[in-house]
Symmetry: D3
Subunit: 336 residues, 6 copies
């Protein structure tokens, strides 16, 4: 489903986030049309205002020369090849479409959909290094071994690094699962200092593995992130149990530790109505649920904030978010 | 945990349900004290009214001779050895305690607790025969093979025949799991005639296996039925998935069939808040949930009715049942 | 509100489901426009792709000759008269609109709206025969008499045969009430074999009558099925009580049987929040609720499945269904 | 079930509320034992402190002479005959049991249970007069006639005057139904002045009839107020509909008025989960629900307040009330 | 934010509600376009049917002369200046657009947005007079003084008279807060006659002040009513507490009265899930909650009814109202 | 309400937690009777087994000499003076009551109830030092000043150090409020490292102040912790708002910061149904809610664990906890 590496390497066209290196230069871009409007200035001249996007950001573009022609050619959602000059306007980057350049709509096989799949802002290598350090800090021999076996398992670890942690709600981008897992583990680590009676090794092992079943829940394809049949009919809670239980079978683990660890995985949604078949009944399971819930919600808030402000930097309040059941103050007071 | 068969055979003392064969004879019983009251007749004579019970029923007993002595000797909940004459009084059996006979309180090791563990009214052999016939009626080769492998697996099948289907709510007696499983399967069989577009083989396979995980949820011991650590921390939904998934791994099964069957097991509680991590998303899963819910509730109603009428045959309404959230009409009009 | 029988007989135009008898013939159809799209083939030729429907199914039609003209003439929702040739294309029937034939939009009085009111796939006569056989199987004289009086009552029985069992949720077509009632009764009949302590006669009587009040809830008119003022302000639960209570008054019935039967009618929604003013408190009322709930939901699932697959035979998952709160697997494994 | 009038007339013994006319006199009382405590004063003298009650109030009594003997003779809940002298102590009435007088426990047939059935503090004749005046104020001829027919119907009106409006929750005393009905009607009358667009006649008719079905829900017998089989299986919402619908059938009423009035009766609980099969969909139905809810709750608050303060005049907070889900401030600031 | 009085006085153009004084005269109006349709009569003549609105009502208008030109000029939502002749047609007022008159679209600064902000149908002076009379009827010196201090406070009283009581749900128009407050107080006054044990002074004081915090929740601006940052982050329950608590601090009040009054303010939403941090625990707080809830809902019902019937006088049922969760019978039987 | 310091100093009797310094010595204790049982050893000798408690722990005691006499003298709940010898038995401390020593029941005025009021295991001075360090770490001048003003305010700070954070649910002991506040602040501090976009100063200020209103919710008196009238009628959410708002008024603060800080206080319960009148709408408010919820629940779990294991060191599962809706695994695997 993924393009071969060689092919991806061939892409010369810069990403939107790289355009700050091209100010006042002409570039050729492969971008998706996010929105467009045909307007008229005071002199009656038509111009076309477009917002382009790729996985790295959004870009304002203006076509002063072929406004009507290009307007009829492109639709929102099209992926296009466009040539223009990168300029700074009002403090933000803008692409001025060249006069003698057509905007060309591309077919699916003329570009890599990977250009448009969002991914974690933290490079996956950084995440995995943090994760390996976290594993090294585990003192319990068997738990550390279990983690090593899972994250050194070629199939599991390949999928883990690619997987999103969700479709829409949170960490819904490539690498989201890994980012979420390590962030939760870090908070659990901090917490185990505040509550010294908590079993740190168990807590961190659970934190790193709690969503591992999601590697079978989603697939990234040209349409974006889609849920799999296994994701709909079985789900990551039970799949995560299966993955970890089988790995434990193969390497052995004290029965009590095994039960408590597996309990953490299946109870991490915290309540039956949120999809855990069993509620947390150990302190570690309880903490894991609350911390992973916190990280999920905060990631969602952060994403909403960034996305809405990127589009409209003056917006004070977010739109109503049906998932969280409220609007958020976008313009809250930032760290001074 | 169970007494060896030889030992059980040795028990000579009849069960309460067998006493109709002993009318006007003297018997020695091993029974549990369910309640007792020291009363006085019009002539000022003290007598002791006791209700005994074993797993087969309850029995009224009267001690006219050593009322006060025996009253001070026995407590509610004690298991005792008692000698008396079986008589018919007011159309019901009664035990008249003999004059020269002491009621003796027994220690745990002086009787088998099996005497007091309720069991299915349908003999387990009859249930298992029905179950095997049901398996034979399956046309899909792989599903039939899967069922045979599971119910011929010595460990699984031994446990299956002993297991209750619950602690309190329904089928909470030895053999209850098997009784529930076959009853649900029979109703599903009937239903597949009314809805011919339903996959009968898949539906019946799911019906027979849906609660199989309960074999690890409960243990029967001298205190009665108790929930295990696995029952509390993992639960039968996930355990059932594990049992069936591993058996499928060992014998092979078409991937789609496997997913749909496992989906039926984990979704059979029907709603997240009732403990299924995924709601039913196939017609067969949906039916299985509704039918097994119906059988659970009806078994509970039937048990409440029998138990309350056994104690008080004139009671019109049941006590309020917190599980079902209502009182039931005990004296509803029976089949004419 | 209904057209006289004679008028309906006059209709010569075949229904869509009858077209398999007309392959390669020219026909004149009266159909509703479900959707349409004006397209262009590789040679730049415009053609109009239409989906027609009547109460018996949907039909793909193509107009190669007057695409633009007919596109501007018809709107989605119009009922039209169209002439074309029935052909087999890609294994499915298709209507090729004739070159010299105009598609004509009809007024309300130029066709019978009955053509577009869906109806039960089981002929009403078959349903009523099943129902009469079910009544004959009742052993209790008074319950059987009550059923006969109700289903022989001219007004009640006329309405019963016409009525849908719902607006949207389930059995929302002519004859749906009768189909639902007999299906529920059949399942209750099967169930009374599995639970022999249940009062079969009472259960079946309740099953056949439980939704009788719906005859006053809906009206079928040119706009489709609409809810009546009585349906909005009183509802079928109370209306059903009134119908049956009055009929009992006129023919007499043992007071206890009367109360239990009426209780079944008003409690059949099972929970207060689902519209029953009283929850089921007898085993028969309990079973009736669960079985009629099962049939309602299964009918909905079956309808969704058929409708979505008719439109798109390759669809794997249904759309999200707000009533059931989930998507369904359309491509589940059918009976082998 | 009620004693004949003649017998009741025979009772000479005063009620507790009448004792203020007997201060410093000796009286013979028939009272129920609400609580008792055997105590010892500083000189080591035993005395028995009893709280008596009848339907008119509670009374503190002290036995200085036969404390131990009488303590062993009476149980809480017994109805007794007691002789004593009425005195004022600490500003409250008290009964000093006479030295030479035995407290005698009475059998069920030695007293009328009516003595202990609480009743409305407003005499039923006053309530019914108010109700008749309210009926006279109705301008719509048919609604007024309907009310007259119902409240002049001998059977209905006899039952109406006796009936409580509940078992426990509110107006749970003889005459409670009538008191509740007229109070709700009065508030609706007031409200119709504030909202002149509301149909006053319809609103008041609905207010007076909304709970009429309760005449078949409860029975007053020696055990107190009990719910009937009809109350459990049918309930007052549907019974009220039946009573009013049949009376309308017999006297005739405009179809629309009939539907809206019956709608008010079945929707007056306001929400499905509170037992109305249909929610209020007219302004009058909406108001009726909210006002009758207000009166029910206030009556409950008032009863709790009176009862708790009668027992302990210094109590600041009520006990937690599970029905209302809170404690109430008993010592709130009274009207100045 | 408000236009100066002088400017408002200058408006010559009549409001829609004043047009009954202009029948058969020509008028110039400033109105908003609510809807429009370009139609054709039988002779093929095009005409433009417009619905205009201002804060006083809606008006049907027809343009027979420049239908197509004006149709292309105006959009729904535009505020326009239009000249026409007022005529009676079919019993309703109608504006016939003049032949030689252009409809002119106005900019924001060419009209006062006040023309389009709905306001209470009861003039604010009438409301405030009622309110002052209600204050005078209070007997408790301190409560009366508190009310006088608040409603004589220039800032508070100015805001109070302008404020709406909501954004959408109820009393969502200028003066709505004052109208709601006095209506609730009047009903509480009536109620205190039916329940004489209630503290009338406290109840009325709470009624008048319960929503006072809303003066900081909303702002009326050209876009209509908008919620403020304080409204989103603090809300009127806590703001109302703050206003009243500070005023009490400044004038003094018995501690108990203060606590009970403030309790009424913060508990008036009645349930935690409706936004009160504490549920009502005094009778007065309880009544206030129920009465203010009743008035809120009735106002909403009345508004829906008026608005839907104004648009379509023949409509029998309202649209589904998501806030109240139902449709309402618009054509209920009015007071005879 | 508290005893003067001098008096407390006078107490010579050691606390239970100090007894490890008295092994094999005779001591005089002032302790509360938690439970007692009169038993008989094999030789028929009676002995009295008592469990004593004070605020520092529980203690097993045995009286071999005056078992029956002392049994009749003391009741569960009594505070007594007892003399005995401290011994080690089965690895746990035990008090052997002396032969010639009477156990004496004390009146309320013969001991300080402070002995029995539980308090935080962390000394209040340590907590306050942590808190002051936390304040020092705040960089925003105004927030730091606000915290200093509040925690240097004599009245507020005295109450803050004494207050519990609850009646039953969590931190229900002297110093519990301070312990909870600083623990939440520490976790928020850690968290602000993981989410660097969060406003640390604001978050920590909110954490330290969120429950400050509880200083008026509870009072510690001889009966234990009781809720005040203000606690019942106003509650700590609104009281906390009032305290902080007034302090801000007196020292001044940027309007935006003020609103966001006050928003954090009133929204910290997270959901309306948990008593916040407004849900969190800023990231800091959101985090504060989740972290303080986590600390509350963990404190409850920890307390349950300690208390149940103290009584029965072999218990595997806690009792069902109605607040958390589950049993907890007491014997979970501790940090290795």
């Amino acid at each position: 489903m993924k393009l071969p590496k060689e092919l991806i390497e061939k892409f010369k066209e810069p990403f939107i986030s790289e355009l700050e290196n091209y100010i006042n230069s002409e570039v050729e871009l492969i971008v998706k049309v996010k929105s467009k409007r045909l307007l008229e200035n005071k002199n009656g001249q038509k111009y076309l205002l477009i917002t382009f996007e790729d996985k790295t950001g959004i870009l304002r573009a203006i076509d002063w020369f072929n406004a009507e022609k290009n307007d009829s050619k492109i639709d929102v959602g099209n992926v296009v090849r466009a040539n223009g000059k990168v300029v700074l306007y009002d403090g933000r980057l803008q692409l001025n479409i060249l006069q003698d350049s057509d905007i060309i709509v591309l077919n699916n096989n003329e570009y890599s959909y990977e250009r448009f799949v969002a991914e974690s802002k933290i490079p996956i290598d950084v995440i995995m290094k943090d994760l390996n350090n976290m594993i090294k800090s585990i003192k319990n021999y068997h738990l550390k071994k279990l983690l090593e076996e899972i994250f050194n398992d070629k199939e599991l670890s390949e999928k883990f690094k690619e997987a999103p942690a969700g479709l829409k709600i949170h960490h819904n981008y490539r690498g989201g699962l890994a980012e979420h897992s390590i962030t939760v583990a870090k908070m659990c680590d901090n917490l185990s200092k505040v509550y010294p009676w908590i079993n740190r090794d168990l807590l961190i092992t659970g934190a790193l593995l709690h969503d591992i079943g999601k590697i079978y829940d989603y697939v990234i394809n040209p349409k974006g992130i889609e849920i799999t049949k296994s994701g709909e009919l079985i789900g990551h809670i039970v799949k995560g149990y299966e993955i970890v239980e089988k790995k434990i079978e193969s390497i052995g683990l004290n029965e009590e530790l095994k039960t408590e660890l597996l309990h953490m995985i299946i109870s991490h949604h915290g309540e039956l109505e949120w999809g855990s078949p069993i509620v947390p009944k150990t302190p570690e399971a309880f903490i894991l649920h609350m911390i992973e819930n916190l990280d999920s919600k905060l990631n969602r808030i952060q994403n909403i904030k960034e996305k809405e402000l990127e589009t409209n930097p003056d917006k004070e309040w977010s739109d109503f978010d049906p998932n969280l059941g409220r609007r958020f103050l976008l313009k809250h007071i930032e760290r001074g």
